[in-house]
């Protein structure tokens, strides 16, 4: 078990909040609507060097947050979500790099989202929160960097939705980063990925407690959100890892006696998923789930370009593109498309379909090979000619 006193742990960290875009300086979103004032929750690890060129910007996945490493309090039982990779001597080595992670707008982990209070009305936004895109999320993170006085990045990195943000960063600010790590991600969602998100959203809006997004201070649509999480969670795992973990194991060790059928908690995998759903509702907002899943379903990096190669033509970063063999949500071909576009543009790129049985979430797993690969790639960024 990890510990706050571990060598390699960044230790106690603080979440910071950046306030900006108060009227009349609201930001204009892709939809044309205005948003402001905006709060961005962010954490930083390590020190910015004198040359201001050692910053790594980390993007979190769908339900992640700014707390990527270390502990927010000595009582916290688990460190930040990518603590395996971020810390002194770890791949994102905080002795060398200045690491930043911020919560996306639309989220519910400290940054402005549908559960935040709208200054104009004094009430939570709910569905009056404007539609946001992956591009908008990136624009806001750029504002944060401007605020921190950082105009060049050593690397951008993210997995899943975080990889989409990293890709969007390369397209929006192609000159700014020397390296990029695009992990288990895609230039756009497949119909299958959209379908799963759609069922999740449908489950939320069908919950009577959702009440058109107007549930703050009342009963929350917990049933809908937990089912959405259960579906999502299935897509993050692989058949193989589920089989290994649960097989056909029964909770009671045998089938329910006849006449007392249990339709919800017979198999271990059922109780596991229900636990996932139940713990998720404590930490996530249903409206945020709707807004963010919509943003990633709508995401298509080729929008406004002829094709993917055209979209990536100005990229200056050396890229690591990675898929995982057991990831059926963002399969190898999705990454291979990105690699192909990079090659067409003569952009230095590295690709591997990493052998792992943990499905889409493989990048969050403790694996020495993965750590070596990340370290090696990061070291090589400055060697690029």
């Amino acid at each position: 078990m990890e510990n706050i006193n571990d060598i390699g742990s960044i230790g106690l960290v603080k979440t910071n909040y950046f306030n900006f875009a108060g009227p009349p300086d609201e930001i204009i979103l892709s939809s044309g609507e205005k948003l402001g004032p905006i709060i961005v929750a962010y954490e930083t690890y390590g020190e910015l060097n004198k040359e201001k060129n050692n910053t790594i910007l980390i993007f979190h996945a769908l339900t992640g947050d700014a707390h990527a490493a270390g502990y927010n309090s000595p009582d916290e039982t688990k460190p930040g979500w990518w603590d395996l990779m971020i810390g002194p001597g770890k791949p994102f080595d905080t002795d060398k790099y200045f690491v930043i992670c911020s919560n996306i707008i639309g989220g519910c982990k400290g940054s402005t989202g549908p559960s935040s209070v709208d200054a104009k009305t004094g009430r939570p936004y709910g569905l009056t929160f404007p539609v946001i895109t992956v591009k908008d999320m990136v624009v806001v993170q750029k504002k944060l960097l401007d605020h921190l006085g950082i105009d060049t990045l050593f690397c951008v990195a993210g997995g899943s939705m975080g990889g989409m943000l990293a890709l969007q960063w390369l397209v929006s600010y192609p000159e700014m980063s020397e390296g990029a790590m695009l992990i288990a991600t895609a230039a756009n969602h497949t119909a299958q990925a959209i379908a799963f998100n759609s069922v999740g959203r449908y489950s939320i809006i069908q919950d009577p407690d959702w009440n058109n997004g107007n549930y703050y201070g009342k009963t929350k649509p917990d049933k809908g959100l937990s089912v959405a999480r259960m579906i999502g969670h299935i897509t993050y795992l692989s058949e193989e890892s589920m089989h290994e973990k649960f097989g056909r194991n029964m909770i009671s060790g045998k089938l329910a006696p006849s006449g007392a059928a249990d339709f919800t908690k017979e198999f271990e995998v059922e109780s596991y998923l229900q636990y996932q759903g139940e713990s998720f509702i404590k930490r996530f907002d249903a409206n945020s789930y709707l807004y963010i899943t919509k943003a990633i379903d709508d995401f298509d990096i080729t929008d406004g370009f002829e094709n993917l190669a055209d979209a990536l033509k100005n990229v200056k970063a050396k890229c690591l593109v990675m898929s995982f063999t057991s990831d059926w949500l963002y399969p190898r071909d999705q990454s291979a498309r990105i690699v192909k576009a990079l090659k067409i543009n003569g952009i230095e790129s590295t690709f591997t379909n990493f052998e792992s049985s943990y499905g889409h979430d493989s990048f969050l797993i403790d694996d020495e090979r993965l750590k070596n690969l990340f370290s090696g790639f990061l070291k090589s960024i400055r060697e690029k000619v």
Partner: protein
């Protein structure tokens, strides 16, 4: 003998080089230090590719023919197919493909016309096993064995320019190799252009 020195001599400093079947990238790294190349690689073996990436090399994991398809014409100064053409499914296709993608191409291969091999077939009546071709006939990766003469004829037919050649094997004596390369060379290096 497979000698790297021959390849070193042909590659201009600072060139952009793609290495087919690069494995964990030892040769790319060596060329990076000797010839200051910008090295790239393709290999299908995931474990070797992890090692290469962990060493900071730009390598793509995949099938050579598929991975080659994505590059625009003349993307590289050199493409190196070192000891690999004989294991490709369609050598002619691959050779023509890399000649399109690169200004110059280096191809090296074991010469099946080598005297030891010929003698083995002639006197023992068996498929030969040598240091360079150590496999049994039933589990060899070498599915297209050919001789230096075969390769020169192929280049002529395909209108490929042979810019330079080098042969190794049969000790250090140069004269037999220079006179009868097909018989006295164990391994051949060709510098090509189209």
């Amino acid at each position: 003998m497979k000698k790297l020195g021959i390849i070193n001599k042909w590659i201009k400093e600072g060139s952009k080089v793609l290495f087919l079947g690069c494995g964990s990238g030892e040769i790319i790294k060596s060329l990076q230090s000797t010839n200051k190349i910008r090295g790239f690689g393709i290999d299908i073996d995931e474990k070797k590719v992890y090692e290469a990436i962990a060493d900071g090399l730009s390598v793509t994991q995949g099938n050579i023919n598929t991975e080659l398809m994505d590059y625009p014409k003349k993307s590289f100064d050199y493409i190196i197919a070192h000891d690999i053409i004989q294991i490709m499914e369609k050598p002619a296709v691959t050779i023509n493909q890399i000649l399109e993608l690169s200004d110059k191409v280096i191809i090296s291969f074991p010469n099946f016309g080598f005297i030891n091999i010929s003698l083995c077939i002639l006197f023992k009546g068996k498929m030969p096993k040598t240091k360079i071709l150590p496999y049994e006939w039933y589990d060899t990766p070498n599915i297209h064995l050919f001789t230096i003469k075969d390769f020169i004829n192929f280049c002529r037919k395909e209108k490929i320019k042979i810019l330079d050649v080098n042969y190794t094997g049969f000790g250090k004596r140069r004269i037999p190799k220079a006179l009868l390369p097909n018989l006295f060379s164990e391994f051949a290096y060709f510098l090509l252009k189209k």
